[in-house]
Amino acid sequence: MRRLFMPLLVVATAMFAYAPYMIDGAAYESSMGLVQKIFYFHAPSGMMMLLSAIVCGVASALYLWRRKPAMDHLALASAELTVLYGLIVIATGPLWARKAWGIWWDWDARLTMSFVGWLIAISYLFVRKYAGPGSDKLGAALAVFGMANVPFIYLSVNLWRTLHPKTSVVPSLPPLIRGPFWFSALALFLMYLLLLTARLHLERQRAALDALYLAEED
């Protein structure tokens, strides 16, 4: 991944630069108007948020039982990315909601899910920062429980109420929207990979620095 980092960075930058043109050229959706354009980064960001949350949960479970520091680094980096993408989702969502439903926020199933997931990711970071010694394992347990919780949150909020467009919207997109959508999704995915790599690199450097400090003492 490190050898690919620079080329991918160039590709991702180019894609981000081109994305506005592509989104501008996409079919204009009459009922939503300009706000529909949010869709191109709102939905992909949601996907990335889910992806990084799953990576965080799996890495944490592995860390808890195998004690591999690399898994801990992966979990921490993923939790930060979950919060970042979650922020994009939660900031853009209300704009859509205002136009589509006439309200900024609604306690609809998917909104509640994202909010809870985001909150768990933030509390993970909170634990890592403030809980002191042993916070790595505390965080890992939080992530494992968070992951196990996802189906239950999903079920409970779905049974509670649903207003949000279904997941089935994405496969059935009209072609003129589908192209720019997947283009944006790919760009955001590249951004995810790049950020994750950079963050992992930082965490590895930090661990290496700690090891150097310890070695220096020896």
Binding site: L64, F126, V127, Y130, A131, L138, F145, L155, S156, L159
Partner: protein, 225 residues
């Protein structure tokens, strides 16, 4: 071995509580204060809002439960008795199970007081379907205690544990709360919507099973420093 150790820990907590009654009294008083505060928010012109009773009951249980969890493990932190428990030759998951059962019993006692009180103060027919209500409360309280006990035990060694517990616990118990509140308000309708309540009980039960499995697995690796 597992069951006897868990019961031993439970009995020990019970003996301490019988002597001091501190956790029981503070938990009950706290639950009462919650009910009072909610009455200010959810009573309009002398009449409680529709459905408010279900929410008030569950939030009072969750808040009081958080308090009880904090106090229970504060007790094990003083004198570092949690370490003494972990040193015992018994399976560590049994220690966890014992502490967890203690929290469940404590909350059950709080609920015995809370349910009639909420029914009375908020004109809620909570006793229309007593069996379903008990099942709902039992499954929900268990779910809350399973997650809560694990987190409270982990936080014994952590810094700023007092604020950390609610921050970690509330998002994690969202399904428990939704299921508890929705199930209870289904029971409060006239006629009671028993099918919906049973569905929520089912969800809570499967959640209990999954969470309990993970908690028993993770307790041992989590407790080794």
């Amino acid at each position: 071995m597992f069951v006897s150790t868990a019961l031993l820990v439970l009995k020990k907590d019970f003996a301490i509580e019988v002597r001091s009654r501190e956790i029981l009294y503070t938990t009950l008083l706290f639950a009462l204060s919650c009910v009072l505060i909610f009455s200010i928010a959810f009573v309009k012109e002398g009449e409680p809002l529709l459905d408010a009773a279900a929410g008030i009951l569950w939030i009072a249980v969750e808040f009081a439960g958080t308090l009880a969890l904090g106090k229970t493990f504060e007790r094990e932190r003083y004198g570092e008795t949690l370490r003494a428990l972990l040193l015992a030759p018994a399976p560590r998951a049994a220690i966890y199970a014992g502490k967890m059962l203690g929290v469940v019993v404590l909350l059950a006692i709080a609920e015995v007081l809370l349910v009639p009180l909420v029914a009375l103060l908020f004109h809620a027919p909570l006793f229309a379907q007593p069996l379903l209500l008990v099942a709902l409360l039992a499954a929900g309280t268990l779910g809350f205690s399973i997650v809560g006990t694990l987190f409270a035990a982990m936080l014994v060694r952590a810094r700023s544990r007092d604020v950390m517990l609610p921050i970690l616990l509330y998002p994690m118990t969202v399904p428990v709360m939704i299921a508890g509140v929705r199930g209870t308000s289904a029971l409060l309708q006239s006629p009671a919507d028993t099918a919906t309540a049973v569905m929520w009980i089912g969800l809570l039960t499967s959640l209990d099973v999954v969470f309990m499995t993970i908690a028993l697995w993770t307790f041992e690796p989590l407790m080794t420093e």
